[in-house]
Structures are given as C-alpha cells and as structure tokens.
C-alpha cells in the first residue's frame, strides 16, 4: 500500500508545523528570494544572513504560504543550514530534507522541492553582483529551471482563473 497511498505526515512534520523554527522576516538578511509551486499554488520566501568573509550562513528564516509539509520543510531546512557553508548549503537536496523530516508523502515531495528552490535562488541572488564561486554553476541547474517553469505556469494558471467571469462579491459575504 505504501506505494500507492501517500503515507501521512510523520510526527516530525507535525511537530515542526506546530512549532516552526526560524519563521518570519529576517531583519538583517543580506539576501532573500521567493519561489512558488505550480503543483499546488503555494509560495515560500527564504531569508539568509551570510557572512561575507567566509561564506558561512549566520542566520536563516522563512515565510510560507503553503501546506503543513511546506512549513515543516522550510523550518527544518533553515535549521540544517545555519552555521553551514554556502557550498554545503547549495548542495542540500529535497531528499535530505524529506529524510530529516522522517519522510514526506509522495504528493508532498514538491513541498520540499519548493523550499530548496527558494534557497538556491537566494544564494544566487547573493552572488548577483559578486564573482561566482566555482561550486556555483553559471547555468541554472535543472532544479532551478524546473522551479522557474513552474512559476511561469502559475502565472498562466492564475491568469486563466482570473479570466473566468469574476462576479462582484456582496459585501455581506466578506469580512473586513
């Protein structure tokens, strides 16, 4: 059955969903990025404070407009990278994240992918005006391309949804 039924969340996912670490905007971040998932329409922001001298991650945080798995994945990812080198961080995979979480259900793999996507984008953003280190490929990695494509698709999708007739909603149906 495990092949067909996505296993529900691990206790770790629930624990981190309940008490996420490193959440919210990081005031003194020196890079940040957002990523969105086509699969479900979720979004995530990653904030990093990087020590410019030795390229260590001093602090990290996230914001998530996503499911419980996404919140947990973002939380554990930010934990995993704090104090680590950028090179190490760049190479973290969604599988590692999933393992740390005690496994993600199949339909929730992309929640981990999304977190990693935002993280890599934040690192790239950090190097925008700087010389790229040699561990950082000039070209977008397949994962990053994938993320980009997804975002384009989201736009298309939500535009498509916008196009369907949008009635004005009676105010009594809406809270302030």
């Amino acid at each position: 059955m495990s092949d067909r039924i996505p296993l529900p969340y691990s206790p770790k996912v629930l624990e981190l969903f309940r008490n996420p670490k490193n959440m919210g905007r990081l005031k003194d971040a020196n890079t940040q990025a957002m990523a969105g998932s086509l699969a479900c329409g979720d979004m995530i922001s990653i904030y990093l404070k990087i020590d410019d001298a030795n390229h260590l991650i001093e602090d990290a945080s996230f914001e998530s407009y996503g499911c419980a798995a996404n919140i947990a994945a973002s939380s554990i990812m930010t934990e995993m990278i704090k104090g680590k080198s950028l090179e190490y961080t760049w190479n973290i995979s969604w599988k590692q994240i999933s393992n740390e979480l005690g496994g993600l259900p199949v339909v929730k793999y992309h929640c981990g992918v999304l977190a990693v996507g935002a993280l890599r984008r934040a690192i790239r953003t950090y190097f925008k005006e700087k010389k790229l280190p040699n561990w950082l490929p000039k070209e977008l990695t397949p994962d990053e391309k994938h993320a980009l494509e997804e975002e384009k698709l989201i736009e298309v999708l939500s535009k498509k949804m916008e196009k369907t007739k949008k009635p004005k909603i009676d105010l009594s149906y809406r809270s302030k």
Binding site: P6, Y9, E15, A39, S64, T164, K165, P167, Y173, S175
Partner: protein, 398 residues
Amino acid sequence: MRDLIAIHGEPSREVYLDSENSGLIYPKALEEMVRTYKEVGYGNPSITHKIGWESYEVLYKSTEILSQILNTKSSELVYTHGATEANNLAILGSAKANKNDRKEILVSSIEHFSVIFPAERLQEQGYKIIKIPVNEHGFIDNEFLKTKVNGSTFLVSIAPINHEIGTIQNLKEIIDIVKEKNSKTLFHSDAADSFGRVRLNLNKLNLDLASFSSHKIYGPKGVGLLYIKEGLKIEPILHGQLSSQKLWPGVENIPAIAGFAEAAKIFDNMDKNMLLKMRDKLIESILSSTESVLLNGPKGPERSLDNVNLSFLYVEGEAIIVELSMQGIYASSGSACTSRVLEPSHVLIAIGRKYEEAHGSVLMRITPFNNEDDINYVIERIPKGVARLRSLSPIKGG
C-alpha cells in the same frame, strides 16, 4: 502513526465537522445494524427459509420506511453501495439502455465527481457532455439551460443541493425548463447531500432518477439508493447473481440497509432549526471576528442548513486543517494541497473564486452531534489558528 496522533495531545474539546467526507453514525442506526447482524436479517432475502424470510422482512420494512420518507413506491428504489454507485448506475445504466440518438448530456459544473466522471466517460461512446455554468453563489444558469436543452438532450444531472457550498437550487423550476424543452429528457439529481435538508417529494417533482447515500444522513457506510421512476429503462452496469431488485448484483447488505432506514427516520424527524442556528452563528461570528474571510455559497434560506464554507485569504487550506486538527477541530479544504490531484476544488473555481480564495477554503458541516458549545469553541479557535498561519505567510492582506 500513534506518535502522529499523540502529538495532538488532549485538546480541551473535539468537534468533528468533516461529515462531507465521511459521516458519523447515529448510535441507534449502528445498533439497528448490529441487531440485524446478530438477530434477524443476516440471511439472503431470496431464500425460502426462516432466516431468509426474516431478512426479507427487514429489507421490506426498511424499504417501506425509505419510500415513505421520499414519497416513492418501494419498487422505485434500488439499493447500491453508496451514492457513488447510484450515480454511476443512473448515468451509465440509463445510457446503456438508451437506444435512440439523443446523445447530449448536461451536468452542472459543480456536480460531485461521481456524476461528472461517469458522464465524461460516455464521451467514448459518442455522447457530448455540456457543463452548465453557475453564478457566483452556485445557482444554475437557467438561461444557458434554456438554450442548451433540445431534441438531442438525453439526460440532465443537477443536484438539489451542492455538496461543497450548500447552494439549494430551485429544482422545480429547473426541471420544468428541461421537461418543457424536451419531455423525453431524463432528469437525474444527486441527492446524497439533500436528504433531510430539503423536502424531496419524489412523487411530485418530475424527477426520473435520484441518488442517496446512507452515511450522508448518519447511517452506516457502504449503502446507498437509486430512485428510478416507474417505467424508466435502465440496465445494470455490473453483473452477477441477481438480487431482489435486479439492478445491482449480489446479495443485499441487509444489516446496513436496516441501519440506513433507521438513520433516515431519525434525520427526517429531527428538528433542524438547531443546525441552522449553529450554522449562522458560526458564519456570522467568523466573518465579523476575522479579517479577509469570504463566505462561499449563498446566505440564508438558499443555503443548506448544515453547510459552512469559508475562504481565509493569505493562508493555505491544508495548513488550516492541520492547525485546527491540533485544536481538536476536524474539517476539510478545497485547497489544491489537500487533494491527491493537486487542483483546487472545481466547485470553487466554477463559482469564480480566484486561486488564492480557493486556496484558503475550509468546509465544515454541522451535524446533529454538534452543540452550541462546540460552535463556540470553533469560533474561539479559528481566528487564533488563522492568525498564527498568517504570521508565517509572505503574503499579507491589506
């Protein structure tokens, strides 16, 4: 899994509001089922011995109860294993028996998947499926219907009440439009969520087919009904040993049927004002306590008495469901993240909700097992949970 559940700790109260997905059961309906298993009715009602006759009697009496409540003849009711099976039988079975060239089927765009999917399957057999649009509150576009029903229309399927947003259609008016345009067109109605919520006088309504489900009215799971108007041609879609009614093969599940009839009696007789009051209190309180919340579906008497469907902007629905679960509140969402197919609810899309509106939707069904204290608890907890999740979100309203 135990750990997963243990993390929930001991919430001060537990409120189950997810009967749209899987119903609770009336203790008396459960008892009736158990009694039937243990005492009378565990046999095959077609066999001529005492146990068979006893089973037949239970079957007969249960069907009498159901047909009285629905105002049909007993002979017009066929048992299936649920509304899913009843909808499939109604649509695929009547198409199988259809020997003429009327090959257009209209279904509303907000029907349950167990109506939409079988209809779409018929495209393989040359049927054309037309989706009837609805307005922002889920009401059928009658003008569209008028232009689309014609000599080629074989069947129209529209539920009396929508399962997700609770819209109560003006079924009489809709059926009149259809029958006036083409009196031969079959009208099917998936009434799984309508039993006991609107009066369905099947004898008076010009309905041809209607589906029901036991667990939707707090009876046992695994049993449903299809009403088939006398004289209507329909063929079985599965094959095997003949049951007494010939359209669904296999020996009848008499204990479940007995529990179904018991639940129908209780739910039909119950004073539902209590549900209505709880529904409105929940809706009004959340709308006034919490910012950026949207009610999905109509207000007032045009809304099903037990349906609450709210969209919380800037948060994702599955996250709210998990958040509420930790507080002992169990609901569901039309968010893409909660479905296996990762698409937001087709009902919310059909009523024109934006992506982010569908994304934060929460569906709650008030049941006879809830009381005012439950609702007060939910009213207290939802704003806090939503606030916490909004604080995590990169997208803030305003």
